[in-house]
Amino acid sequence: MNDSVLKSASPSLPADIRTGDPAIDRYLSQIDAHLIGTRGIRRATLLEARDFIVDASTDAADRDAAILAATREFGSPADIGSIQRRERHGMLLKIALATGPAFALLMLLAQVLGLPGPGGWGARALVFVLNMLFFGLAMGVSFAYAIGTPAPSKTPSTAIGGGDGFTVAYRTSSRTLCWILIAVFGTMQLLLLLGLFGADPTGIFNAWMWPLITLMLFVNIKNLGAPLHALRFSAEVTPGALRIHRLTGPLLLQRQQIATITRPSYPRQVFSTQYGQQRRIGWRDEDGSLRHATVSLPPDIINGDRLLAWLEAAADDNAAQGLNPARPPHAG
């Protein structure tokens, strides 16, 4: 694959990444030349390299020698670029395989139930492959090469005790997209419902058979539910507690209550009304019963990776101290 097509045009190193030291900036520019993706994607690698070199050379007696040693210790620009490209290509493949076949299967089912399309299984198989490639690659390319992880915010969390906390929320562009999705799929859902009774004013869905309309109504529950979940979701985290605001209501958990953090199965994630990668939080209530709550933490959420790190650390620490075992001792 020609990787240059996966790199958006940016003539020079971003100003906020430059250090003012010619040797460091030259090294970063060399790395940048080997990276792929939008500026936001490449930025993560450049920041990691810059911080390492600056940290290693700040208090050195011979700064030039320290910079040279640090660049050798961190890695060659070609190696770093090769690793970043492999990681992004891997992400493309993973997302394409997770989304493309599911979408193609759904469209095939819709065709079988009467969605206008090519007749004959040969043509349907071709459409299946095209749908799988088109949707899978579109999703994969977006997340692997375009959408960067948002920077962690410094917003202190004051609602549950203040201190050294942070807030988890979708960024403004994602929230805007959610409103657009609600407008589009909400309208579609309404027309589908009217179409079920032959009353769709556009006439599009009146011609559909009821099994197809039922399937689309069912699918649209996720399309509508996911942006609603995203708009309602936020979390406040302090060292000792977590408050999650959800579509289904708020949930306040003390750190000592966290027992397990697991990844729901693929079918469970597909059939849930949330988008993106999910985590299932297992926590013990006051009676000692293990209860669960699922949160979606897609890459475009601010501080989502910090929340996951906090949850995993809480579960690990509690397990190490014998608090909140995944199975209570009497469960056998």
Partner: protein, 115 residues
Amino acid sequence: MAKQPADEQILKGLLDALVLDALRAGPNYGFGIREQLHRRLGPDADILKEATLYPLLHRLERNGLLASHHEPGERGSPRKYYRLTPEGREFLQRRIREWARVSALLQRTLLTPAP
């Protein structure tokens, strides 16, 4: 003298375990991990010159032994922190047991004069 492939394998295995061990105390960032390794190794820190940190950390992350997240950094830009995953913790424990067995074997054989 040219380094032998077997030496490289031993070193690679040792460095993986050393990096994972440096994260047992909690999440840390690139330079922090390097500093901790230097402190632990003391006069033997020269073996770190045989490795480059970025490929090492990212290989361990790709293999699921490390996970990462971002925290606000002192310079106003995010800083990437690495942490041990349960798989990483298990891998480290296994490696420690293996090294201990090899060490005991060496003590009993090669490092003990034959009777």
